[in-house]
């Protein structure tokens, strides 16, 4: 039987999720035995038009070129898997969607016709049908391998939708929000990282996107109640997953209009 064919595409991103693949070590050598990699520019394989069974897409849609590319990827792939915060939510560059960014783009381009930029940075699923989303900034290697194994066996991978808090509690860690009054986003962020930041005594910062039913209002009120400045609370919501709607609404609620900040 022919090996399943795979492509790794990049849109607007930092290349970090591709780096997770290139960092897999022995698992990478195993992966290239299991699947036939047809397109993966950073690894030196360049055939963007190859028909494949599974296309992994890193990056958000932030240019017209990205829009064109993603439509072609959909046409030539059986399954499309969005990998990482950019592909799943628009990424950190979706900060331009919430901030007053109109003047950023017009000022940076002397020749806007040559390098285009869309007003918003969008998740892949906004333009095409996506079969699976692997969240994270970057994705978790474990989730990626599990997803590939599941797809090769023709079953849908099981991915968490619960909150980081639940992983954190199961790991028996001390809550950084309660014990240090840290602006932890764990209560509204999807699990999957293994509660990495709290395990290092740091507050979660939304890498894995919104959890199921995120109660951003309650979290925002709690953080402001702890004495954290409202502007800082607002900004914590629009970080790595700034494109996520529940986080944008929380930002809009807590932000201080720029005018009031000026001295």
């Amino acid at each position: 039987m022919a090996k399943a064919s795979v492509a790794v595409h990049k849109l607007t991103s930092c290349s970090g999720c591709q780096s997770v693949i290139l960092n897999m070590g022995d698992n990478l050598l195993k992966l290239i035995e299991l699947v036939d990699i047809r397109h993966f520019i950073e690894a030196g394989v360049n055939a963007p038009d190859a028909q494949v069974d599974v296309a992994f897409v890193e990056g958000s849609i932030s240019t017209h070129e990205d829009e064109e590319r993603i439509k072609r990827v959909r046409e030539q792939s059986r399954f499309v898997v969005a990998i990482g915060a950019c592909a799943c939510s628009g990424g950190v560059q979706a900060l331009r969607n919430v901030k007053d960014s109109a003047h950023w783009a017009s000022a940076v381009y002397a020749d806007p016709g040559y390098l285009d930029s869309l007003a918003d940075s969008s998740p892949v699923a906004e333009l095409i049908k996506v079969d699976l989303e692997l969240w994270g900034c970057p994705i978790s290697e474990r989730q990626l391998i599990a997803a590939i194994r599941a797809l090769l066996h023709g079953v849908a991978p099981v991915l968490p939708t619960e909150k980081v808090c639940q992983e954190c509690k199961r790991a028996g860690q001390v809550c950084v929000l309660v014990s240090q009054a840290s602006p932890c986003m764990g209560p509204v962020t999807r699990a999957g990282c293994g509660a990495l930041c709290p395990s290092f005594g740091a507050p979660c910062y939304t890498c894995f996107g919104p959890s199921e039913q995120p109660n951003c209002d309650a979290l925002g009120e709690r953080l402001v109640g702890l004495g954290i400045p409202a502007q800082q609370v607002a900004e914590r919501f629009v970080s790595i997953s700034a494109g996520a709607k529940p986080f944008q609404r929380a930002w809009a609620r807590w932000r201080i209009p720029v005018k009031e900040l000026e001295p």
Binding site: G16, E42, A43, V45, N46, V92, Y109, A110, L196, Q231
Partner: protein
Amino acid sequence: MTDPRNIRLRVPVITRLEGEGALELYCRGNRLERAVLRIFEPPRFFEKFLEGKHYSEQPIIASRICGICPIAYQMTGVRAIEHALGLEPGDWISRMRRMLQCGEWLQSHALHIHFLALPDFLGFTHMMDLAKSHPEAVRRGLRLQALGNDLISLSGARSVHPVGLKVGGFHRAPAPEQVALLQPRLQQAEEDAKALVRWTASLELPESHQAFTSVALHHEPDYAMNEGRVRSDQGLDIAAADYPQHFREHQEPHSTALYSLLNGEPYLVGPLARMNLNFEQLPLKVRELAAECGIRFPSDNIYHSIRARALECYFTILEARRLLTDYQPQPASVPDVPRDGWGAHCTEAPRGLIYHHYRIDDAGFIRSACIIPPTSQNQARIEADLYHGLSHFGLEHSDEELQFFAERLIRNYDPCISCSVHFLDLRVHRS
């Protein structure tokens, strides 16, 4: 004698680069008129993303500039903000940060050598083919890369976008048991790294000699990584805060990375520039190995970059081992208190010098940020090198041969094209 031809060779995508770039050559007859490295990585306005954020978010946001060298963006920013706040985190924290930088250099160099550069010199199109014919060498490379990643994870939980660094120090000190697990691996890796250096020394590399200015950090008494003054081999010697007075950036319409010039001229940053300026500060073992293999610095051959990277792999392993000897956890950070201030800092990312500055307000929010990544500093040098190299190579070669020549040359610089971070206030010309 072939007929003169007017060609415009367009290579739409260069493989084995981090991020995406393209190359355009404009030739008239057998004369190259212009070589343009086009970087079309969509600009992501990182400096603007940072405005309005509390400084505690700097390591989170800035690391996303580049998934291959995230620590460089965290480290430089954190140090610049510490200057703005008047913080000096002390010896133990500096030591652990240097260890962290060793991890990033090692993983990035091992990745570059094996995935991106070596296939060029051994006649393969990519690492997957290389793995079939040189399985042991590739496994050795993957072991070095994995060790680099694990050195990063020691203080940062993961190697891509680690979470350990903060203004004032680290969120947590590594546990002694975890350090103990790394020590034997560092010892074993010495042999791997020595073998890698010997292997790169045995490669037949192209001869290319050009006059160029090397720029790197310099620090007494050690091989500069996170601290030091900016030096060039033409006599420049300045503090990081004076960087904007000597280095100027400008935009070219074909690229989202800005071009940086030193007193109006292109210059080189990166491992070869570091070797050219600071080779004598490397540990004796590294210098002896270089001598044994016939590797000498300074060098004016950009193809020697692969050997510089291999030597730095060996150096980082020795250095990480030294830094972790007799490891004792200590307070991982000093308290940080917001204040109105400005701070600048330079560090050495795996692919070269990086500069940041920040203005912070009295509540701790970032009012302005400036980030100058290595690739925008190398871009003018890359184009000058392409122009010179291709002119000498000869345009009578086929387009395919020209393309291979140019791509291989560009990969020496390990440009990290994801780092299109810039924002400049320019006058917009509208018709």
